[in-house]
């Protein structure tokens, strides 16, 4: 077990909120076709409220703080907030489209020692990326920002959500990331909108394309390990918890709503009404999330994939039951397993 895994395990066991994503705004200068947020402003927290929340999060033991949105840099106080967060010695990651990052912003981020800047790039082609973001010129602005951030020796990572419009561009984005000297992650999952609208799921790639994605070392690393057959379902698996959401991680919306995760819109309380520690400790919703073990999941507990499935309880919740299945994860687990079968059955002479 790596040191980081040990820390995560300890936080989980102690129910310490080690990781929090704090969205500063719903507003965005891009309007991505697959975005799960609705961008209507509904009363964002003030600077003073956010600083108070950061103090509370620090006292609660939060170490990893992801600042996101919407586009967080649309807030004129974003740097003030990040500076305050760093003064409280959070490990800060900024999730941004980087369109608003110029030389001055890049230098300020370096001076703040931001741990990582995560930037969404959907394609190496302007016409595809800009069609997804619906912001003309956005690819070149984001790439210019990445170069500026790299010139400041900052750690940058590109994230690519694979969907129908960019289904063929993942490898080229990976090459682009390598050329830029930045990290790369691919995510083949389209999630429903937080308001429950599932229409955007139609943008998702096909099962065959998902299999291809999982068979691509540039996307998943060691394919054999990633696509390993499901582990035996034993007592340890059944006594396990589905994921860290609500145990050692949570999400805070731009108006202070606390959820177990950004993909788990189960309201646990609001920080304008209740202190974070009180919500974290006593929220009935969080207690329910924490009480669930794999053996409590009617369908998943009898599934052969239970030992290695990446089941997301939030996506299951959005399908109607946090103890139910997450169809997207069922599909991913099947795609991984069938990938192995496919490879094992391949004629060696054709290799």
């Amino acid at each position: 077990m790596s040191l980081m895994e040990e820390i995560n395990r300890k936080a989980f066991d102690l129910t310490v909120p080690l990781s929090v994503q704090l969205d500063l705004t719903w507003r965005c200068n891009e309007n991505c076709v697959h975005c799960y947020l609705d961008h209507e402003g509904r009363g964002e927290l003030s600077t003073a409220e956010i600083k108070d929340i950061l103090r509370q999060l620090s006292a609660a033991g939060v170490f990893f703080l992801a600042i996101s949105g919407g586009e967080p840099l649309l807030r004129s106080d974003c740097f003030e907030i990040m500076e305050y967060a760093r003064s409280l010695q959070f490990n800060v990651k900024l999730k941004t489209n980087a369109v608003l990052i110029g030389p001055e912003q890049a230098e300020r981020l370096r001076k703040l020692n931001i741990e990582q800047i995560q930037i969404s790039i959907y394609s190496h082609r302007d016409e595809i990326h800009d069609a997804i973001t619906k912001l003309p010129g956005s690819l070149q602005r984001s790439l210019n920002a990445i170069r500026l951030l790299k010139s400041q020796q900052l750690k940058v990572s590109i994230t690519t959500v694979l969907m129908k419009p960019n289904r063929n561009d993942g490898q080229d984005v990976r090459r682009l990331a390598d050329e830029l000297g930045v990290g790369f992650n691919v995510d083949p999952t389209i999630t429903p909108k937080m308001n429950g609208d599932r229409a955007i799921l139609d943008l998702g790639i096909t099962f065959q394309e998902l299999q291809n994605c999982f068979n691509t070392p540039e996307f998943v690393g060691d394919v054999g390990e990633f696509c390993a057959p499901p582990l035996p379902v034993d007592g340890a698996v059944l006594d396990g918890s589905p994921c860290s959401a609500g145990h050692s991680a949570c999400y805070i919306s731009p108006r202070g709503d606390v959820f177990p995760c950004v993909q788990f819109p189960l309201s646990c309380g609001n920080l304008r009404e209740t202190a974070f520690a009180e919500i974290w400790k006593n929220s009935e919703a969080l207690k329910e999330v924490r009480s669930i073990r794999v053996r409590d999941l009617p369908s998943c507990s009898i599934c052969l994939h239970a030992g290695s499935c990446t089941r997301c309880p939030g996506l299951a919740f959005m399908e109607g039951d946090m103890r139910g299945v997450s169809s997207a994860d069922c599909e991913k687990s099947r795609a991984r397993t069938l990938s192995i079968v496919h490879r094992d059955c391949r004629d060696p002479k054709s290799e």
């Binding site: 040191l3 980081m4 040990e6 820390i7 300890k10 936080a11 102690l14 310490v16 080690l18 620090s58 033991g61 939060v62 170490f63 010695q89 959070f90 490990n91 800060v92 020692n113 931001i114 741990e115 750690k155």
Partner: protein
């Protein structure tokens, strides 16, 4: 032997987790955990109190350890942490603005 002074650097990220302290250097992303003894020294590292005095008050008193042994371990610890930029070591008191 000259006094040794230690001060936590401001570019780190750190938090207590149970009886340990977790630290990440923002300069090279090196990740550390300190056990309760090391954490006691870390938490007392104010830049102006000599290390020997920190060890005596924070470690020996709390953990019933002899000073010479504890101090030798502490000197090794702070040297390791200084290599990764987690803290600053000096033979004179360290002011806050020297970060």
């Amino acid at each position: 032997m000259a006094d040794m002074y230690i001060r936590r650097n401001s570019w780190i990220a750190t938090r207590s987790l149970g009886d340990e302290v977790i630290i990440m250097s923002a300069k090279d992303s090196t990740f550390f955990t300190l056990n309760s003894t090391s954490a006691a020294i870390w938490n007392a590292a104010d830049g102006v109190t000599p290390l020997a005095q920190l060890v005596e008050s924070s470690v020996c008193a709390a953990f019933e350890v002899d000073l010479p042994l504890a101090l030798a371990d502490a000197e090794q610890l702070v040297t390791d942490l200084a290599v990764h930029g987690i803290l600053t070591v000096s033979d004179h008191p360290i002011e806050a603005q020297q970060d």
